[in-house]
């Protein structure tokens, strides 16, 4: 028997699934007592280079409301050529094509190692991918040039048959016609007027009559479009002093969505929005054009002072939903020093599975490389993106689905699998993900509905089937089916087993997602309190302690890291808005709710490596005590990569030792973290902000704000010590946090 660690890892590698509990409590009552719900992180399109798709259609259960897919868990009667559905127990005959089936001649989907299998189905016409660029022209000249370069570059990355379109906007919105020769033609809409009604109709009629007008196969218009992009000018309307440029982002998006809606509904399409500032006019306006009125801050929002917030949010939500309904995703690439209204616009991407990228300027590698990353290809040379995904979850009858958290929208499919208890986006067992990548990960929350008085027989197993239909980037329609099973365990007699089946990493991320999901709609302190309470209850449930004796408190190995995750989560930008703009918060949360477990953990608790002459690079505690003068630290927070040279190292570097031949080793030491950082930079999407700083440098704040403030100006004993660096903060340290936690956990009143 392998350890749970290995089991979990194996399951993740094979199925892309991480459960909070790998043994399931057998009754509803017990399940609720476990505090952390039975739930999982599911990565629908986890890259499986070793899994070749099969070229036929899946076999479905014939029961109308089941339609589960034949899987290794099904009982098969090879002689009768029938199989029993493991969800509804319906007996189904095999289709004629399975006539030759036998014990030794089994189809792939019946083999245990194919708990995840992918089918390629021939259904409907294959439509090419669509990329619609929506470009803000109210940019600084440099930015615009850089952006133009990036866009032109991206054309070369698109498959030749992909359809492309271009919308530019500033004070006006221009939809460029790509087909015409000679003269560049575009349709112009005024940026202040929502065109949901007639005008779009006109455009739409125009577009349906000549679908080729605005969206053209790239191979046909490559040159044209390259020229067009090359001639793109900054928005020519004068911007008076003291004003922001008028930017009609809302209308531009509305037009884009309307255009695709009218011409290519339910086809894989990406609307890629490039903005260099906040929308300042028309529907979706986030801030007025008066510079003297700054864009809303968290402070304004809390004071209910953000004039345009609600209206704009509502507008973008409606737009996002429309787009989602048509299966088109919207990316937002926002590069500006100030906020650009991501808070209001985030739902566009969140609902449609689009990317959000935030940077300071289009003229940075952060943007260019991230943008390139969008078009990265897998080992088959296909884009790492898929469209029009629909995830359906089927469960054993003891389980029901509460909801999902991730880049998806509900399809409102009510059915026997749907719980009344909603967590995340609930009330359905089907979700739509207009666009997804191999790393897109949903948090799925389940509920054990088995009643306490109807115990499940020993050795009973529960099963869950994830059916993901999507359009592959090579335009094939595919269905990926993952069927997993876990044992039921009686929580009273087997609590130890259940405890040891706890996946604290997955649990931390799943709980964090719940927290973030709540934070979107609730006050920050409430969410923190809720998280704290969950943590305390968990500790009470599983900790070993004597009542009212904090010092006796112990947690088993499988839970030992969980409180620490929670500690860092509380300090994270996902739940703390202090020091972050609303846009940044939205950006961080956006990525947090879609990345896989590893990345999510990094986000919660950044990784810190130390490089020194004392030994090989090693991970060190994310603690102020790790900050030492003779070390180089590399911190990865997912969004930032910080290389921090300790005081001594920095002095050496200033003295130029690395240039001296006799100090080659120092040069290598300096280089080591940079190499590692580069490795991360190359693979990470979106590309993190790369920060190279040193002791006392202003950018060191990125590191100092993340580490556990074990030494601050407040705890005297830290002063003057050689190890670590004091952090000037009033935040509690992990130590204090743990002390409180223990106290509360052992308290009978809590």
């Amino acid at each position: 028997m392998t350890t749970y660690q290995e089991f979990i890892q194996q399951n993740e590698d094979r199925d892309g699934v991480r459960f909070s509990w790998n043994l399931w409590p057998s009754s509803r009552l017990e399940a609720t007592r476990l505090v952390v719900p039975v739930s999982c992180l599911f990565t629908p399109l986890k890259e499986r280079p070793d899994l070749p798709p099969v070229q036929y259609e899946p076999v479905l259960c014939s029961r109308a409301n089941c339609k589960a897919v034949l899987n290794p868990l099904c009982q098969v009667d090879f002689r009768a050529k029938v199989w029993a559905c493991n969800f509804c127990f319906q007996r189904n005959p095999f289709p004629p094509s399975y006539a030759g089936i036998s014990e030794v001649n089994q189809p792939a989907e019946l083999m245990p190692q194919f708990s995840t299998i992918e089918y390629i189905v021939q259904r409907g016409p294959q439509t090419p991918l669509i990329f619609l660029y929506v470009v803000d022209t109210c940019l600084e000249e440099e930015d615009l040039q850089a952006l133009k370069g990036s866009l032109q570059m991206s054309l070369s990355l698109l498959p030749p048959n992909a359809l492309v379109g271009l919308i530019t906007f500033g004070r006006m919105v221009q939809v460029h016609e790509l087909s015409c020769e000679g003269i560049a033609k575009s349709y112009v809409f005024r940026g202040t007027k929502d065109l949901t009604s007639k005008q779009i109709q006109v455009g739409r009629r125009e577009a349906t009559r000549h679908p080729s007008l605005f969206l053209q196969p790239i191979h046909r218009v490559d040159m044209n479009l390259t020229d067009l992009l090359g001639e793109l000018q900054r928005d020519p309307w004068p911007v008076p002093q003291g004003k922001r440029p008028l930017r009609s982002t809302g209308v531009a998006l509305s037009v884009a969505v309307g255009l695709l809606e009218g011409t290519f509904p339910n086809t894989g399409a990406r609307v890629m929005l490039f903005v260099g500032g906040p929308p300042t006019q028309g529907p979706g306006m986030v801030v007025g054009d008066e510079l003297k009125i700054p864009i809303r801050s968290w402070h304004d929002i809390q004071k209910d002072n953000a004039r345009h917030l609600k209206k704009a949010t509502k507008f973008y939500e409606a737009l996002g939903n429309r787009s989602a309904a048509n299966g088109h995703s919207i990316d937002i690439y926002a590069c500006a020093l100030d906020q650009t209204g991501l808070l209001e616009m985030k739902c566009l991407s969140n609902l449609t599975g689009g990317h959000i990228v935030m940077g300071d300027s289009f003229n940075t590698s952060l943007f260019t490389q991230t943008f390139q990353g969008v078009f990265s290809k897998d080992h088959n040379g296909d884009f790492r993106m898929a469209f029009g995904g629909v995830l359906e979850i089927k469960t054993s009858r003891e389980l029901k689905v509460c909801g999902a958290i991730g880049p998806c929208v509900s399809l409102n499919s009510k059915g026997p699998y749907v719980s009344e208890n909603e967590m995340g986006i609930g009330g359905t067992n089907q979700w739509k993900m207009c666009s997804l990548t191999p790393s897109s990960t949903l948090g799925i929350y389940l509920e054990v509905v088995n009643q306490h008085n109807a115990p499940i027989p020993q050795g009973g197993r529960g099963a869950i089937q994830f059916v993901t239909q999507y359009q592959h980037s090579n335009t094939q329609k595919r269905i990926r089916v993952t069927t997993i099973t876990r044992n039921w365990a009686d929580a009273q007699s087997q609590i130890q087993h259940i405890e040891s089946s706890f996946d604290q990493e997955a649990a931390a991320v799943l709980m964090a997602r719940l927290g973030v999901f709540r934070a979107e709609s609730e006050e920050g302190p409430d969410v923190l309190r809720w998280l704290d309470r969950q943590l305390i209850r968990l500790c009470q449930k599983f900790g070993q302690y004597n009542k009212e004796d904090p010092t006796s408190f112990r947690l088993s190995e499988s839970l030992s890291l969980y409180p620490q995750f929670m500690f860092h989560l509380r300090r994270s930008p996902f739940l703390q808005v202090f020091n972050n703009s609303p846009d940044e918060s939205s950006y961080y949360r956006h990525h947090f709710t879609r990345q896989d477990l590893t990345q999510s953990l990094i986000m919660i608790q950044p990784i810190l490596y130390s490089y020194s002459f004392h030994g090989p690079p090693e991970p060190v505690l994310l603690d102020s005590s790790s900050i030492l003068p003779d070390r180089i630290l590399l911190m990865d927070t997912f969004f930032q990569l910080v290389i921090y040279n300790g005081e001594t190292i920095a002095q050496w570097q200033k003295a130029g030792y690395q240039e001296m031949p006799e100090y080659q080793n120092f040069k290598q030491l300096l280089k080591a973290p940079q190499d590692d950082a580069n490795d991360i930079l190359e693979t990470r999407f979106p590309m993190p902000r790369y920060i190279n700083t040193e002791h006392g440098g202003s950018q060191a704040r990125f590191l100092l704000s993340k580490v556990n403030p074990s030494q601050t100006h407040n705890n005297l004993y830290a002063w003057g010590q050689e190890s670590g660096a004091p952090i000037l903060t009033d935040d509690v340290s992990l130590q204090v946090f743990m002390d409180h936690l223990k106290k509360l956990a052992v308290s009978s009143s809590a």
Binding site: M172, Q174, E177, C180, G182, I183, A184, K185, S186, Y187, V188, F189, R190, K193, L195, K198, Q199, V202, G203, E206, D227, E231, Q233, P236, W237, P238
Partner: protein
């Protein structure tokens, strides 16, 4: 008018006459007349009948009244007068003295009295016959008459004979006396003529009696023939004689004579031919023409009949004597014979002839016209003359209806003569006259009166040694700024008076300072935006390619101040159908970019930079664009268009660029696409003639009115080129152009081959012509009068400021003045028209025109110094605006009424006493009836069945900004016989009547809008060869729009003439070839305004009769 031609008619009529005679006439005279009409002339009579319903019917004639009316028809009167005298000859002669003033047409009234039928006729005839011709006519006529008319006329005959003798003598005089007399008036002169004629000069002397010399001369009074006829003669003589008589007399006579003779026999049937031939003759000299030649004209015959009566009254002679001045006729008395004929109709040659007046004026004008003399009327617009600015604005800039204004409101009201000025502020002067100087008064801006803000001008009085000046408009005293101070000389004038245009000239310009600019900002250079309809119709007709092709070269000729420099005007391009396409033609682009705006409900401009560009900078891109536009839309299927948003788009573009400018809109169809300003088809001919007719002239909805207002605020002038294939509602589409100082051009059923030239020439001229933008015009007047009403293409927000988004060199504004106090004869009346505008180079300027006229306390002075052409300009604009709010019939009635009052007032107050039956016209206004008739007959006021609503609305709008020269030729087209082309000088025009056309001739007719070349059916082969290069009438291609280029003097000269005509007009005239008896002739005949028109308009003669009747009613 009339007259006797009928004699000839007699034969044909003969029959009828008898009948009449019997019935009606017992009173023979009348009867015959009537009879005349019916038969051959019937057609013509038509109109006549209209006027005098009673008349035609022979029956009426009998009644005393009818006769009057007929006679009143006066036609003859004038002549008759002269002639009548003839009858009375002896007596008349004396009267002849009555030179001047009023020529009397006829003594219509008399007739009744003249029971002696026989006698009557003669008189009338005489009159007509009067001039030389008579003789010829008579003889033949007499004979002829004898035949036909015999029964009734006989009596007349006797007189005739009598008359004849006199005639002969007369004739000589006439001939000799080249004097213009010939015309109707001749009558007048005749009397004296015989004696006096030769010496026409005498007239003056005679005049003295009645009118001041000049006036007398000018005013030809047509004594009504009637008994009074004789009287009239007196007055008439002088005037008429002057010009024409001599040559004419001869010419016509002969021909006439012949014609007359012949007519009798043949004419009857071939009435048409007869007239035609005659015309030529007549053309030569109406004077001579009077009686005889005309005779041919069937139509007239009728009316004149009355005249005969006049002749009868021997008594008249006596009267005439009294009238001496005017009474010319006496000599003609001899005409007796013709008289008989005359009964039938009034001799067209006997009534005032526009051609005669025009020619007289030309002959009279030999010196440059100097503007220094207050109260002096300038030469007519038809005369070529040079102007010397001596302190009053040149008549090219300002023309007044009256150069002697009545001192009091009562006088003005009594006379009913409109007091108005037609101002053409930016008129182009001929090369030999200096354009207005530009004066810069420095930073302080132009020096102005402190109170009324009048600008410095020659009328300002400097006082206190030059330290102050007194405003002659409001009498306020203003300090002279130190930098402007100058000492005065001993006469009280500044010593630098002649160095400064503003102190010595009538017209000049000031450089405006920033205070005169909108928002106190120096204006940006203006912009021209071309908005081209690219819907199916426009593309299919080839219009789009034509425009694009033309623009390529046209853009190099945008207006500029300095011919050496490039124009600073920027250009932009838009095409549209149901949506609008803007073009980015920024110079840095390799290719133009098209920006489509489909949201027409709330128009906006999609781009700023690159839309309006400098032509030279963006030449490549623009050319590329213009090449591509026709291709891009070659396959369009879009038929619907918008219009409101198109103008909005241009307006928004100008707003965005913060400049004034002009939009050139090329549009083809009724804008029915869903958009603001959408129109519905409301063409409903059933409304014509009803009280709702006015609604057809009113714009649909208020959208365009509001839009126009916005345009004016921005200085956005709109020129509209229409190419409709059906109803497009010009009344509505034209609102914006008309309110913004723009123009509407209309090319119905545009076809590339035949209309291209006209369109392109119009476009070229329209784009290139000098123009000012964002203009405000204000007319200041001296105390006592006030500018109360304005007519033209502009917008007014208040009652004083005329706002013009654009003002080009062809636009005229008519301003009406009213009294608000007494004027004094010493100071006269002053007016100053100041136009503040932005020049095409973006400079803000003020153009000032000063005008001073005399004030008079005698009505006679008023009548002696007025200008009929200008009055007609005013009356037509007034009437054409009136149809917006009143039933058309009411407007017509008002016009007739006012005209009658004007003439009646003259008759009552200024003319020497005479019989009420005499029609006496002031010399200066003797053409008022004929011109007014033309106005009344215009398509706007009296549409024919084939005149579309659009055409009426179009003409209505067009007239509103015409200057005097344009209205003149528009209402009274110029008809040139193409004879003696080799000589170099233009042939003398002939009157607009079919009977003036000779079958063997070729004629050119121009109206300012149309140009016809009429070819007679039996024209000489040689002429055909010379002009068309073909020997046969049948081979002439009537669809040709330009003449073949042939290397012979006639062809060359003709083409030169055509070119020069075109050059004179603001719009290019397409040449339309009309072959006699071709279908197209109907259209051509429409412009023969002296004839009865197909739409029911009266002939000149009939109208004159009618007018006389009206006057008589007013007098009684």
């Amino acid at each position: 008018m009339n007259v006797n031609q009928h004699t000839p008619m007699a034969p044909p009529y003969g029959q009828p006459q008898p009948s009449y005679g019997q019935p009606g006439y017992g009173q023979p005279t009348y009867a015959p007349l009537d009879s005349g009409y019916p038969a051959p002339y019937a057609p013509h009579n038509g109109p006549a009948s209209a006027y005098h319903p009673g008349i035609p019917p022979q029956a009426p004639p009998p009644s005393s009244q009818p006769p009057t009316s007929h006679y009143s028809a006066q036609p003859q009167p004038s002549y008759s007068q002269s002639h009548p005298p003839a009858s009375s000859a002896p007596s008349q002669l004396p009267p002849s003295s009555a030179p001047a003033g009023s020529q009397q047409y006829y003594p219509s009234s008399a007739p009744p009295s003249q029971q002696p039928i026989s006698s009557l006729p003669p008189t009338s005839q005489q009159r007509f016959v009067s001039p030389g011709q008579p003789q010829h006519t008579f003889p033949p006529s007499s004979t002829s008459y004898a035949g036909p008319a015999p029964p009734p006329t006989q009596p007349a005959s006797t007189p005739v004979t009598q008359t004849q003798p006199p005639f002969h003598p007369h004739q000589p005089p006439f001939s000799s006396a080249p004097g213009g007399q010939p015309p109707a008036f001749t009558t007048g002169p005749p009397p004296p003529a015989q004696g006096s004629f030769p010496p026409q000069a005498p007239p003056p002397s005679s005049q003295p009696g009645s009118f001041p010399p000049p006036s007398s001369v000018s005013s030809g009074q047509y004594p009504s023939s009637m008994p009074p006829p004789q009287q009239p003669p007196q007055s008439q003589p002088p005037t008429y004689h002057p010009g024409p008589p001599p040559p004419q007399a001869q010419m016509p006579p002969t021909s006439i004579g012949q014609s007359n003779h012949q007519p009798p026999g043949p004419q009857g049937p071939p009435s048409p031919t007869g007239p035609l031939q005659q015309p030529p003759l007549q053309q030569g000299m109406q004077t001579g023409a009077f009686g005889q030649p005309r005779s041919p004209q069937p139509g007239y015959g009728g009316p004149y009949q009355g005249q005969p009566n006049y002749g009868a009254p021997a008594p008249t002679p006596q009267a005439q004597k009294r009238l001496d001045p005017d009474a010319i006729p006496s000599p003609q008395a001899s005409d007796m014979p013709p008289v008989q004929k005359s009964r039938h109709r009034i001799d067209p040659d006997a009534i005032p002839s526009p051609i005669q007046v025009i020619e007289d004026d030309k002959a009279k004008t030999t010196e440059p016209f100097t503007t220094g003399v207050r109260g002096q009327a300038p030469p007519l617009v038809t005369t070529n003359f040079q102007v010397k600015d001596q302190g009053n604005a040149s008549p090219r800039f300002v023309r007044c209806t009256a150069y002697n204004m009545p001192c009091t409101a009562d006088m003005a009201k009594q006379s009913q003569v409109p007091l108005a000025a037609v101002i053409k502020p930016l008129a182009i002067l001929p090369p030999d006259e200096t354009p207005p100087y530009l004066v810069d008064h420095g930073e302080g801006g132009p020096i102005r009166c402190n109170r009324c803000k009048a600008y410095m001008c020659p009328y300002m009085q400097f006082i206190e040694g030059g330290r102050r000046f007194q405003c002659s408009f409001c009498s306020c005293v203003t300090e002279v700024p130190p930098h402007y101070f100058q000492h005065l000389d001993h006469t009280g004038r500044r010593v630098d008076c002649y160095d400064r245009p503003e102190l010595s000239l009538g017209s000049y310009e000031f450089l405006a300072t920033v205070d005169y600019c909108k928002n106190n900002k120096i204006p940006q250079p203006p912009a021209y935006i071309f908005l081209i309809d690219v819907s199916y119709n426009a593309v299919k007709s080839g219009l789009v390619s034509i425009i694009c092709q033309e623009l390529k070269s046209l853009l190099d000729h945008l207006p500029r101040e300095n011919p050496e420099m490039d124009s600073v005007i920027r250009v932009g391009f838009v095409t549209y159908n149901k949506v609008l396409h803007f073009y980015n033609v920024k110079s840095s682009l390799a290719q133009p970019q098209m920006l489509v705006v489909s949201d027409v409900s709330d128009m906006f401009v999609p781009l700023l930079d690159g839309f309006l560009v400098n032509v030279n900078d963006s030449r490549q891109v623009i050319e590329s664009l213009l090449d591509q536009i026709p291709e891009m839309f070659a396959d369009t299927r879009e038929t619907e268009t918008v219009f409101g948003p198109v103008i909005q788009a241009g307006l928004e573009a100008l707003k965005a660029a913060d400049c004034a400018g002009k939009l050139f809109v090329f549009h083809t169809s009724l804008p029915i696409a869903e958009a603001p300003g959408k129109l519905k088809n409301r063409e409903d001919k059933k409304l014509i003639g009803t009280d709702k007719e006015k609604s057809l002239f009113q714009p649909q909805a208020g959208f365009y009115n509001n839009l126009a207002k916005e345009c004016v605020t921005q200085g956005c002038c709109v020129d509209l080129f229409l190419f409709p294939n059906q109803y497009v509602d010009v009344a509505t589409l034209g609102v914006v152009p008309v309110s913004t100082g723009g123009s509407v051009y209309k090319y119905t059923y545009f076809q590339a081959e035949s209309d291209q030239e006209r369109f392109l020439n119009d476009l070229r001229r329209d784009v290139q012509k000098p123009v000012g933008f964002d203009a405000v015009m204000r007319v200041r007047t001296s105390t006592g009068i006030r500018a109360t009403d304005f007519f033209g293409s502009f917008f007014m927000n208040n009652t004083t400021d005329v706002e013009l988004a654009g003002l080009d060199c062809d636009k005229a504004i008519t301003v009406e003045f009213k009294h608000d106090d007494k004027l004094s004869e010493e100071t006269g009346a002053l007016m100053q028209c100041a136009v503040l505008y932005t020049s095409c180079s973006g400079q803000r300027r003020l153009r000032i025109h000063n005008m001073a006229v005399n004030c008079c306390s005698q009505l006679a002075d008023l009548y002696r110094n007025c200008e009929t052409d200008t009055i007609i300009n005013f009356l037509s604009k007034y009437a054409f605006r009136g149809v917006l709010n009143n039933p058309t019939k009411a407007v017509r009635d008002t016009l007739v009424n006012q005209c009658a009052q004007i003439l009646a007032c003259y008759r009552k107050n200024c003319a020497s006493p005479s019989s009420a039956g005499q029609l006496i016209l002031p010399e200066c206004m003797k053409l008022l009836p004929v011109y007014l008739n033309c106005v009344l007959k215009s398509d706007v006021l009296l549409p024919g069945a084939d005149v579309s609503l659009d055409d009426r609305a179009y003409l209505r709008q067009l007239i509103s900004c015409m200057d005097v020269a344009e209205t003149h030729v528009f209402f009274y087209p110029r008809l040139l016989p193409l004879v003696k082309l080799e000589s170099g000088a233009l042939p003398v025009a002939v009157r607009d009547s079919e009977e003036r056309l000779s079958k063997g001739g070729v004629y050119l007719l121009e109206t300012g809008l149309h140009l016809f070349l009429w070819v007679g059916a039996s024209v000489q082969q040689e002429l055909l060869l010379n002009i068309f290069g073909t020997p046969s009438f049948g081979q002439i291609d009537s669809s040709m729009t330009s003449l073949p280029v042939l290397e012979n003097p006639i062809s060359q000269r003709l083409r030169e003439i055509i070119d020069s005509f075109r050059a004179q007009r603001s719009r290019y005239m397409k040449l339309i070839l009309v072959k006699q008896e071709d279908r197209a002739e109907l259209m051509f005949k429409h412009f023969l305004v002296e004839d009865k028109s197909a739409s029911g308009g009266a002939s000149y003669v009939d109208f004159l009769c009618h007018m006389h009747k009206e006057i008589r009613q007013l007098l009684s």
